[in-house]
C-alpha cells in the first residue's frame, strides 16, 4: 500500500467531508418542508407528497448503484472519505475523475502512478473543489434570473411551459441515449429494450395505475437484462 493512502483514508478526513454533505442533507430537508407548506396553494395532498418522495427514492436506486464500480476505482486512488464527499455533491463520477487527474497533471505527475504522493493527492483535492465551485457559484447567484428568462420565452403560459419541458427532456435524453450507446451494440440494445418496455408499460399503466411508479425501474432492469444476455 502506498504511504499517502494512510493520509487519504485518515479517519478525521471523514469529519472534514461531513460539513458540506450536511448542507446537501439540510437543503433537502428545508426544500421538502417548503414544498409541503406550499401544497396549501395547490391541489396536492400530503399522501401525494409522500408518494413523490418515495418514487424519487426508488427511481434513483439504479443510477446510484451504477456508480458503484467507478466509485471503488476512485476510492483505490483518492481514498474513501474524499470519494464519499465528491460523489455526494455536484460533479458526477467522470467529472471528479477528470478533475483529480488534472490536479496530478498540474504537478506533472500521472494520476495513481508511483509518483502520486500526498502533495499530488492534495492537488487533486484542490482541483476537484475548485471545479465544483464553478457550478455552485453560478447557480447560487443566477438561478432566480433564469426563471425570469423562461417566463419571457413561455409568456407565462403553463401549457407552453409543459411543452418546453417535454422538448428539453426529449432533446437531452436522445443525446444521452446516442452518446451512451455509440460505444457498443450491447449498450444500444439496453437503451432500445428499455424504451420499448417503457412504451408498453405506459399503455398498461393506464389500466393499472398502481404499476406506474415502477415503470422506470422495470424498463431499466429489462434493458440491462437483455443487454447482459446479448453481450455474453
Amino acid at each position: 500500500m502506498k504511504e499517502y493512502l494512510d493520509i487519504a483514508n485518515d479517519p478525521i478526513l471523514w469529519m472534514t467531508a461531513l460539513p458540506v454533505i450536511s448542507v446537501v442533507g439540510i437543503q433537502a430537508y428545508i426544500f421538502s418542508k417548503y414544498a409541503f407548506q406550499a401544497t396549501k396553494a395547490t391541489s396536492l395532498t400530503k399522501e401525494q407528497c409522500f408518494k413523490a418522495i418515495k418514487t424519487g427514492a426508488v427511481s434513483s436506486i439504479g443510477p446510484a448503484l451504477s456508480v458503484f464500480v467507478v466509485m471503488l476505482g476512485m476510492m483505490a486512488v483518492i481514498g474513501a472519505p474524499i470519494t464519499w464527499m465528491r460523489l455526494s455533491m455536484i460533479g458526477a463520477a467522470p467529472t471528479e475523475l477528470t478533475a483529480s487527474t488534472i490536479g496530478a497533471k498540474a504537478m506533472e505527475i500521472e494520476f495513481g502512478s508511483a509518483q502520486y504522493d500526498a502533495t499530488a493527492f492534495a492537488s487533486s483535492v484542490w482541483t476537484m473543489a475548485l471545479n465544483g465551485c464553478g457550478w455552485l457559484l453560478f447557480c447560487g447567484l443566477f438561478t432566480h434570473k433564469m426563471s425570469n428568462l423562461q417566463d419571457k420565452i413561455a409568456g407565462g403560459n403553463a401549457d407552453m411551459m409543459g411543452k418546453i419541458c417535454g422538448a428539453a427532456v426529449l432533446g437531452t435524453s436522445s443525446y444521452l441515449v446516442i452518446s451512451n450507446s455509440k460505444s457498443g451494440m450491447d449498450k444500444f440494445i439496453a437503451a432500445l429494450v428499455a424504451a420499448v418496455v417503457m412504451i408498453f408499460l405506459t399503455k398498461l399503466s393506464n389500466k393499472m395505475p398502481k404499476l406506474k411508479e415502477y415503470n422506470l425501474g422495470i424498463s431499466m432492469v429489462a434493458g440491462m437484462f437483455v443487454a447482459v444476455l446479448v453481450s455474453n
Binding site: V23, A57, A64, M75, T95, I164, K187, N215
Partner: protein, 225 residues
Amino acid sequence: MTENSYSYEELFTKKIVKAGRWTLLGAIPLCFIPAIYLWVKYGAIPSVQVILKGWFMIASIYGVEYFMTPLSYFPILGVSGTYMAFLSGNIANMKVPCAVVTQDVLDTKPGSHEAELVGTLGMVGSTIMNMIILTIAAIAGNKLISYFPPSIIKSFDYVLPAIFGALFSLFAVKYPKYGMFAIIVSGFIVLVLGMLPTWLIVPMCSFSSIGFAIFSSKKEMQKQQ
C-alpha cells in the same frame, strides 16, 4: 396572475430562492475544509502556482459547462430543482429522471405548480437515497463487491443507456413529433458532427428541440385561429 399563484410565489418560490442561495454559496467554503486539513495536519499542499495551474486547466475543460449545463436543464428542473441538482450533483443520470418520472407518476400537469412541488419532492427522495447508498458503498464497498456475481457487475454498465432510453420513450409517447425531431437532430449532432465538445452538444440538442416545440405549437395555434 391569479391570487392563488401570488400566494404560491410567497409560499414557495421566494423562500426557495433564499434557501437555495445560502445553501449553494455556503457550500463553497465548506468544500475546502478537507484540502485545508491536509495542509495543516500533514503539510500536504501544492504550491500556489500548481493550484492555479490546475484550476486553469480544469476550468478550460468545464468552464463553459458552469453556465451551459444549468441553462440546458433549467426548463426541466425549474428554480427549486436547479438549486437541488447543482448542489447534490448527478444531474442527467439521476436528478432529471427522478424529477420527471415523479411528475409523471403523480399525473401532474407539466409546467404547473403541482409539477414543480412534486418534482422537488422526487429529488429530495433521490438525494436521500443517493446519500444512503454512497455512504454504505464508501464504508463497506470493497467487501460488498465480492458478494455480487460478475453478471450483476456487468449489468451496471447498462444502467445509463437503459434509463435514458426509458426516459426518452416516456416523453416520446406524449410528444411523438418532438421525439422524432430530437432523435434525428441529436443523432446528426453526435454521429455526424461528432467531435464537438459536450458543453456545446447538450445545449444544441436541448435548445433545438425547445425551439422546434415553440415553433410547431405556435403554428398549430395559428391554424386554429
